[in-house]
């Protein structure tokens, strides 16, 4: 459905998007994840034909967006970072205008507008001026507008920004629902949002794609070490001595603990090895009491930080 090859976008000497390639199949829900300034919005702007790439190609449905822009743009519904609203218009007037420029036929327009209003639940504000709406409502009007042309592909740049928690859940459910018969590409810097709605994530950093895949696969591939966090009552030397006989320890970090006369120990081991019993017995034999012990799995946040920081180190 969407095929991007070696896409780059330069702003002067700065490369906002740097040699990015990916393919998105029909019906997928894909999340773009990355810190601010990672190139998510720029990539989306290129996908929708708002910006042109400096290098590389975007093929939608087998057609190059530069060669056949009108036809391709009719297939895409786009919600940019700031919903593009004409503030002097009412919600209904605005949606009608969007229908007109998206070539929705006259007979279908009324029906499309009703569908849009109901889907994002803004029927009650249809007669209000856009400039008088709250941020959350504006965001929802923008989302309704992206649905007007009945597009096959939805590209949503931070669709839940500015919404309250209840609305966020509603919009997420809506995106999942839309994902059944649309191809959805959304961006976010909120991690669990992406994990809840998307089957696949593309993590971007500094204009590059640093990871591509399902979230749990990513988590597993990155978790090449499992870690154990222990708080023990004793000094650094005592802990080091106590752990001496334990085999299978890859990394060991001992730091001061917020509790008095205790240290925090971070024990890294090989993948798929469980050191908890060995560690317990070793501490016990050395008569160093364990105050806390928990194993640490890589959370979404850590995957994200790991990937985005690793990349920074290279630069």
């Amino acid at each position: 459905m969407i095929q991007v090859t070696q896409l780059s976008k330069r702003y002067g000497p700065h490369k906002a998007v740097d040699d990015v390639s990916f393919t998105i199949q029909k019906g997928e829900i894909v999340g773009f994840l990355g810190p601010n300034g990672a190139g998510k919005s720029t990539t989306m702007n290129i996908l929708t034909g708002y910006l042109s790439s400096s290098e590389g190609d975007v093929m939608i449905d087998g057609q190059n967006i530069l060669e056949n822009p009108q036809e391709i743009k009719a297939k895409i519904g786009y919600l940019p970072e700031n919903p593009p609203l004409y503030m002097e218009m009412t919600v209904q007037e605005y949606l009608k205008f969007v229908c007109e420029i998206k070539n929705v036929s006259r007979n279908e327009t009324a029906q499309r507008i009703e569908y849009g209003l109901e889907t994002v639940r803004i029927t009650d504000v249809r007669k209000r001026l856009l400039k008088n709406l709250s941020k959350g409502y504006k965001q929802r009007v923008g989302l309704a507008a992206s649905l007007m042309g009945n597009p096959e592909i939805l590209i949503l740049d931070e669709p839940t920004s500015g919404l309250d928690p209840k609305q966020i859940i509603e919009i997420r459910d809506l995106i999942r629902e839309l994902g059944k018969d649309h191809t959805v590409v959304l961006s976010s810097h909120i991690l669990h949002e992406v994990s809840e709605t998307c089957e696949r994530v593309l993590i971007m950093n500094l204009g590059k794609i640093v990871a591509d895949g399902a979230l749990d696969t990513l988590a597993r591939s990155l978790a090449d070490t499992s870690e154990l966090v222990v708080r023990a009552s004793g000094s650094k030397e005592e802990v080091e001595k106590a752990l001496g006989p334990v085999s299978g320890i890859k990394t060991l970090t001992i730091s001061d603990s917020p509790e008095p006369a205790a240290v925090d120990v971070l024990i890294g081991s090989e993948e798929n090895t469980d050191l908890r019993k060995d560690v317990f017995l070793a501490f016990s034999a050395a008569r160093v009491p364990i105050l806390q012990m928990r194993s640490k799995n890589m959370t979404l946040e850590e995957i994200f930080l790991h990937l985005t920081n690793a990349e920074k180190g290279v630069e």
Partner: protein, 287 residues
């Protein structure tokens, strides 16, 4: 294109801009009509429109300042440019909307002519000619305003620069009289044009070869012309300014003569400016 036109036209009356433009235009023109025709009892109406040219300088910037700059500032250009409409549809739609507001305003002033016709002897041909010329002149100024509006995100900046551009166009005939007319300055002017053209080609192609060839070709042309007939350079600057002068061509309309070359000139002037506007918007997507 029709959707863009309709929204734009609606936009003029959903914001105060449309009313302010019409009000300003009609207030000043009404004042001049009363002063020059009612109070003096003059029926020489076709001179009336010629006497209110300067309204353009104040009123056209109002009409065009928001046109494209505001789309960019509010990011609504993202909606337009990602929809199945072409950039030329957008620009032409906006141009037609501004022209329509101007047309409707001008239509109101026809009432003045009716007053003159009722109580005096109205020269119908001259008046009709003057109206056609005045309208075409207005279209050219709107085209200039729309181009400037596409160059900035700030409507105040757009209004400011449109004001000065129109002022320059208005004063071009005065400038024409004071520029030097000797051969040498003509040659220098031609050389400057050649350099500017070469620089334009160079910056568009980033190729030293293209830029270099353009410099050499324009130098050869300038030297050849100087050898063959150096009178070409006499008064060249003045003639060039006269050629782009919009106001000069209005005079024939005022006499009731519908000169085809003047109509074509005005319409192609608009076309060139709208074309440049389209290119400016297109180019921004690449940078």
């Amino acid at each position: 294109m029709f959707a863009i036109f309709k929204r734009e036209l609606m936009g003029y009356y959903q914001t105060p801009i449309g009313y302010v433009f019409m009000g300003l235009f009609l207030l000043i023109s009404g004042f001049f009509f009363a002063y020059n025709h009612l109070f003096t009892g003059s029926a020489y109406y076709s001179s009336f429109l010629g006497s209110i040219f300067f309204i353009f300088i104040f009123a056209i910037p109002l009409l065009t300042m928001r046109s494209i700059s505001e789309e960019r500032r509010q990011k609504t250009d993202q909606l337009l440019l990602t929809s199945p409409v072409s950039i030329s549809d957008i620009v032409i739609g906006k141009f037609l909307a501004a022209s329509s507001v101007f047309f409707v305003t001008l239509l109101v002033t026809v009432l003045y002519a009716v007053v003159v016709g009722t109580y005096g002897d109205l020269a119908v041909a001259q008046t009709a000619g003057a109206y056609i010329g005045f309208f075409l002149l207005g279209l050219c100024f709107i085209a200039i305003g729309i181009l400037i509006s596409a160059l900035t995100e700030n409507q105040v900046t757009a209004a400011f620069f449109t004001f000065f551009s129109l002022l320059f166009v208005w004063l071009i005939n005065l400038v024409k009289q004071v520029v030097p007319a000797d051969n040498l300055s003509g040659i220098i002017f031609a050389a400057a044009l050649g350099v500017a053209l070469s620089a334009y080609l160079f910056f568009n192609t980033r190729s030293w070869i293209v830029g270099g060839i353009a410099v050499i070709v324009s130098a050869i042309i300038i030297v050849l012309l100087a050898l063959i007939d150096h009178t070409v350079y006499t008064g060249l600057i003045g003639n060039a300014l006269g050629w782009i002068s919009l106001l000069d061509r209005y005079n024939s309309f005022n006499l009731g003569i519908l000169k085809l070359d003047a109509v074509v000139f005005y319409l192609s002037f608009c076309a060139v400016f709208l074309f440049i506007t389209i290119r400016v918007i297109e180019k921004r997507r690449w940078t």
